[in-house]
Every structure is written in structure tokens, then in C-alpha cells.
């Protein structure tokens, strides 16, 4: 049985050394969980990533909770979560505490004026790479979503819920029919 502090320490390291969050954390989690500690198998890890993405919330947090829970139950989940979150929390809180004092400094102000457009560019980058290769009709969905939230002020939550409902309806009606017509009465794959 793994000691709680080992679980905490492992995830603390992951939280401390990954910049960019989410997907950038996956290689480090992989190295720590599979190669170094052998807490999960490689195949199980891939399944876990799929699960972590089907559940809302940061992927790193989801993965940590799952692995922690599997090893030591609720306490393990809590130790893993705390480990992942604590580095961010301490670093950001420290910055926030001191930032107020230097915010009016003209050099700091100038630096932030330069960083703001850069941040927007970094956000737009993934939009293009994620959308690449999607069906043309989905481009319209992407554009309509952006316009509804930005232009019409719709809440992203409603748009998200609507899309999930539409996806489920599609899966249960049209997609099901397409599958049966395409491949006969083959039972759904299970492993």
C-alpha cells in the first residue's frame, strides 16, 4: 500500500513542473505514474485519459483524483488533489499578494500592455489546430457558438448543455441507424 505522502509528493512534483497545464502535464504524469512508480499500466492510463476528458474539470486534477482514489480511497484522492493544486495555489497567491504593490509601476504596466495581445494570440492558436480536419458543417457550429457567446451574450453553459443534448440525440437516432445499415446487426464492441 502506498503511503499518502508518497502520493502527495508525486502529484506535487507534477503540479510544480508543468507549465501550460492540461495536455502539457500528460507526459509528466505518464512518466511519474507508469515509468517511475508503476501505479497504473500503460493501457489503463490511456483509458484513464479518455475518462478524465469525459468528466468536467482540469485534466490534471481529474487524473490525480482517479489515481489517488484507486490507490488509497478517499484519502488518496484528497492527497493527490492537494499535491496537484498546492504548487499553483502557493505560487499564484504569492504573486497576487505582491502584485498589488507593483501594479502601478510604469515598467510593469508597460510589460502587461505588451503581454495582453500576446495572450489573445496564444488562445487563438489552439482554435485553428483543434478545428483542422473537422467536417465543414462543424465549422458553422464553431462560428455560431463564438458569435452567440461573444456577440449575443449567451451563457456558454447553455450552449454547452444544448450541444451535449444534440450529440446524445444524434447518437441515439441517426448514428444508430447509420451503424445498423452499415454493418448489419453487429453487437457493439466491448473489452
Amino acid at each position: 500500500m502506498q503511503a499518502l505522502h508518497t502520493i502527495f509528493a508525486s502529484f506535487f512534483k507534477i503540479g510544480l513542473f508543468t507549465f501550460g497545464g492540461g495536455y502539457a502535464m500528460i507526459p509528466l504524469i505518464e512518466r511519474e505514474m507508469i515509468d517511475r512508480r508503476a501505479w497504473v499500466g500503460r493501457r489503463e492510463f490511456l483509458d484513464l485519459l479518455t475518462l478524465a476528458q469525459s468528466v468536467p474539470g482540469p485534466i490534471a486534477v481529474n487524473t490525480a483524483v482517479f489515481v489517488g482514489y484507486r490507490m488509497r480511497g478517499l484519502r488518496g484522492a484528497a492527497a493527490a488533489l492537494l499535491g496537484t493544486v498546492l504548487p499553483s495555489f502557493v505560487i499564484i497567491l504569492t504573486i497576487a499578494l505582491f502584485f498589488a504593490g507593483i501594479r502601478q509601476n510604469p515598467v510593469v504596466d508597460a510589460a502587461f500592455k505588451g503581454m495582453r495581445p500576446a495572450v489573445v494570440a496564444l488562445i487563438i492558436g489552439p482554435v485553428v489546430s483543434l478545428a483542422r480536419g473537422m467536417h465543414r458543417i462543424l465549422y458553422i457550429v464553431i462560428a455560431a457558438t463564438a458569435l452567440a457567446i461573444w456577440g449575443l451574450g449567451w451563457s456558454p453553459i447553455y450552449v454547452l448543455a444544448g450541444a451535449a443534448a444534440a450529440g446524445i440525440a444524434w447518437e441515439l437516432t441517426i448514428a444508430g441507424k447509420l451503424k445498423t445499415r452499415g454493418s448489419g446487426t453487429e453487437p457493439p464492441k466491448r473489452d
Binding site: 492540461g22 482540469p58 493544486v85 499564484i92 497576487a96 508597460a110 495572450v119 483543434l130 464553431i142 457567446i149
Partner: protein, 190 residues
């Protein structure tokens, strides 16, 4: 009470945070800038910038920072810290609960047709949400100086340069560092 409202907002953000950090930005922006006006559009961009150059998931970083900023509106750093704890806890709570349920009961979730359908439906919308967050940062709803992230031609030049850099896979932290340096040269020296 503003701290209770903060808790509810971040609970909502955690619960609907599908599609990773950038998609969550749209939810955070909607709660923090649009709905509650806890901060301006420019302050929000600053928080995203700080979150980018520090380690950890962007959702956690921004929760800690936004929590502090909102708590500080009650006038004392103790409230700021309390706000940080509340927002960070709230954004993790749905993850914690749902992932434990998944680990316990729904290991078969990955083959579930309903989950698959919902994920397929949300995928394009998540991309649209990221685009909406970017659009709102470029073209804010108000014309107040605190809402404007693009103040002149230099802003657009930096935007273009960083966009080109990110497509060429230049490290984002380096890109932000260079933009900060450029900002100091452009706005600090002239």
C-alpha cells in the same frame, strides 16, 4: 455575500469545465467579467498572462488569482486569501466528486454511447467557446479603457508576431516573456 457568490460561480465553472483550460476561460470570463463585473477585461487578460507563465493547470491558477482579487474587494488581504481558497476549492469540487464516482461505479463510461454522443456534440462548441473568449478579449462589450487589451497598432503587431510564433511551436512562455520585453520597450521607453 460576495464570497458565497464566488463559490457558486467557481462551482459552476468546475462543473461545466469540459474541454480543458482554454475552454474554461470562456466560462470564467462569462462569470467574472460579464455577469458579475468583478474585474475588467484587461485585468482578466493579465490573470491569463500570469497563469500562462506559472506552473499548474490554468483553471487552478486563474481560480486562485481571481479569488484573491474578488476577496480583496472586501478590503483586506485576509479576505483575499479566503477568496483564493474558496475559488480554488470550488473549481476542484466537481472534479473530485465526479471522478470518484467514475472510479467507483462507471469504469465502463468510456464505452457508453450517451457519453460518446455528448462528447461529440460538445467538441465543436468547446472550440467555439475558446474563440468567443479570444473575441471578447479583442473586442470588449464596453469601450472603457480598462476593458481594452488592444490599444494601438503595436498591440496588433505583437498579436500577429505571437500568433506566427505559436504556429511555429515556439514555447508560449518565451513568447509571453518577449512580449513583456517588447511592451517595456514600446510603452515604457517612448
Amino acid at each position: 455575500m460576495i464570497l458565497w457568490q464566488l463559490f457558486l460561480s467557481y462551482l459552476k465553472i468546475g462543473f461545466f469545465g469540459f474541454g480543458g483550460g482554454y475552454a474554461m476561460l470562456s466560462l470564467i470570463q462569462n462569470e467574472v467579467v460579464v455577469q458579475h463585473a468583478w474585474m475588467t477585461n484587461a485585468e482578466f487578460a493579465d490573470i491569463v498572462a500570469v497563469s500562462q507563465i506559472t506552473p499548474g493547470p490554468i483553471a487552478i491558477n486563474s481560480a486562485t488569482y481571481v479569488g484573491y482579487t474578488v476577496g480583496m474587494q472586501l478590503g483586506h488581504p485576509v479576505y483575499g486569501m479566503l477568496g483564493s481558497v474558496i475559488a480554488t476549492l470550488a473549481v476542484c469540487l466537481p472534479s473530485l466528486t465526479l471522478m470518484i464516482l467514475v472510479a467507483r461505479f462507471f469504469m465502463r463510461l468510456k464505452n457508453n454511447r450517451l457519453v460518446e454522443g455528448a462528447m461529440r456534440g460538445m467538441r465543436p462548441v468547446v472550440i467555439g467557446m475558446i474563440a468567443a473568449a479570444a473575441l471578447l478579449l479583442i473586442f470588449p462589450h464596453s469601450d472603457a479603457p480598462g476593458d481594452r487589451n488592444f490599444i494601438d497598432g503595436w498591440s496588433w503587431a505583437l498579436f500577429g508576431a505571437v500568433l506566427a510564433g505559436s504556429w511555429r511551436k515556439v514555447n508560449p512562455i518565451l513568447l509571453i516573456g518577449l512580449s513583456a520585453a517588447a511592451g517595456i520597450v514600446i510603452y515604457g521607453l517612448f
